[in-house]
Symmetry: C2
Subunit: 301 residues, 2 copies
Amino acid sequence: MVQIKRLNDLVSRVKEMPPKRLVAVNAVDEHTIEAVNAAVEEGIVLAILTGNPETIGKTCAGMGIDPARFSIIPATSEEDAALKGIELIISGKADILMKGLLSTDKYMRVILNKDYGLLSPKSVLSHVAVMENKEYHKLLIVSDVAIIPYPDLSQKIIQTGYLIRIAQLMGIERPKVALIAATEQVLPAIPACTEAAIISKMAERGQISGAIVDGPLAFDVAIDKESADIKKIASPVAGDADCLLFPNIDSGNVFYKMNTKMCHSEQAAIVMGAKVPIVLSSRGDTMLTKFYSIALAALME
Amino acid sequence: MVQIKRLNDLVSRVKEMPPKRLVAVNAVDEHTIEAVNAAVEEGIVLAILTGNPETIGKTCAGMGIDPARFSIIPATSEEDAALKGIELIISGKADILMKGLLSTDKYMRVILNKDYGLLSPKSVLSHVAVMENKEYHKLLIVSDVAIIPYPDLSQKIIQTGYLIRIAQLMGIERPKVALIAATEQVLPAIPACTEAAIISKMAERGQISGAIVDGPLAFDVAIDKESADIKKIASPVAGDADCLLFPNIDSGNVFYKMNTKMCHSEQAAIVMGAKVPIVLSSRGDTMLTKFYSIALAALME
């Protein structure tokens, strides 16, 4: 399989696959409809929109889009729109769940309600983003910048698995995973360090397979060979990481926002761990980010 | 006082001041001598070097520098060089302590040894960096990216004070301090959020003065007005922060390294909380970063 090296390659790849069925929840606003429409046009998805049909019709009219290209499921409120979306997923009529115009809180509350069956009792929902930063020679697949504040060791192991799975779907045969901390020293008092040491040893023992996992590594060593050489860190991951696992949301979120605000990077992002991939776009995201996120969700099996 | 808006302004400012007396510990290597020499040439400091006089002489000769422009205090080992440096500080013969060629561990161990008197019993040593990122319209004064792994509330209050003090020395009359978290919501389970709420309320009550302090703020909202508007966060700090307090070293370190490696930013950095400012340069730092750090230390009163 040819490796996906840029976000445009991701789009090309999913265009070759049969379209997935996406349901966008309360998809009544321009931002959501614009991104979904682009994905429909590219043949990446067939789209179902839940929400007030009149509002959807008006928004589409304002954008010069024929609403007939979407299936529309009427809903009476934001919650109802979310529930209708989940019903479609549970009954096997849709493959991807996407957020439209409703607060992340409301959206997540419905997703997290285990009565609805989108999660199994042991599900760990976690956010994975694929960042394209012009300063780096490859895509960076990272977690978790948005959902789990302070993952414990078992959650970090699951997150590592999510990173590896996405990397492999992108055609990276043995992805290099860097477990990020502030230093490469295994400082016993710092969980970011000790848990990274544990996870990388687990990988060495074959308990985590399909990837080269090393940590703790500071961010500079993970992505910059020269920094690794200066610090004399011999690691097959150093300077060439495909995946970064952040120790907590504080560090992941700063990374993510430095990328978007200071480096003007584009990205794709999904939430993993539910029955289907979930697209969690926010108002601040660009159209392209929403579109790439749909493409990433469509890549999932 | 004219405000220091770029690192070059910082250099201009300290050039107008009487030179401070700097002691560089085990200053036997080219990197250290090059930066110290530049600061001496600019009239920012008078320099004392501790270390093996022969090695210092050889290094100077190789660089075409006359060692006579430095005072040299012979030392027999790295530890001895560190101790000699501290003795000069304690006896009032030097104003700035700088690390030369020795491991940060060894250097810090001598500094942290309270028997030597560089710290008072209640001292909180913390790292403050001033970053110049071309993408931002002002300098960013940030803490702590290198020393305290997980500051508790009382340490964060002290760190906030350090940020304000440096901002004021730079001529920012009422600096805007953003207390960084992953979200602006005060989520009770996330200490980054709750402690930010506490500190900003303390500032509102006048318990922290001389600054406008707000948090929790996510990084994008702190530095980008548009992000704040989209999220409808009304804050006098949003989009215009002078200072960033990171909730832990994990997030601060990622910020710092994104700046240097992805954004090619220059910076100045010192350790505050001891009797004098401490320069903690590392091998990976550029000459300019070391030079700017000396200038920042020289700005301190």
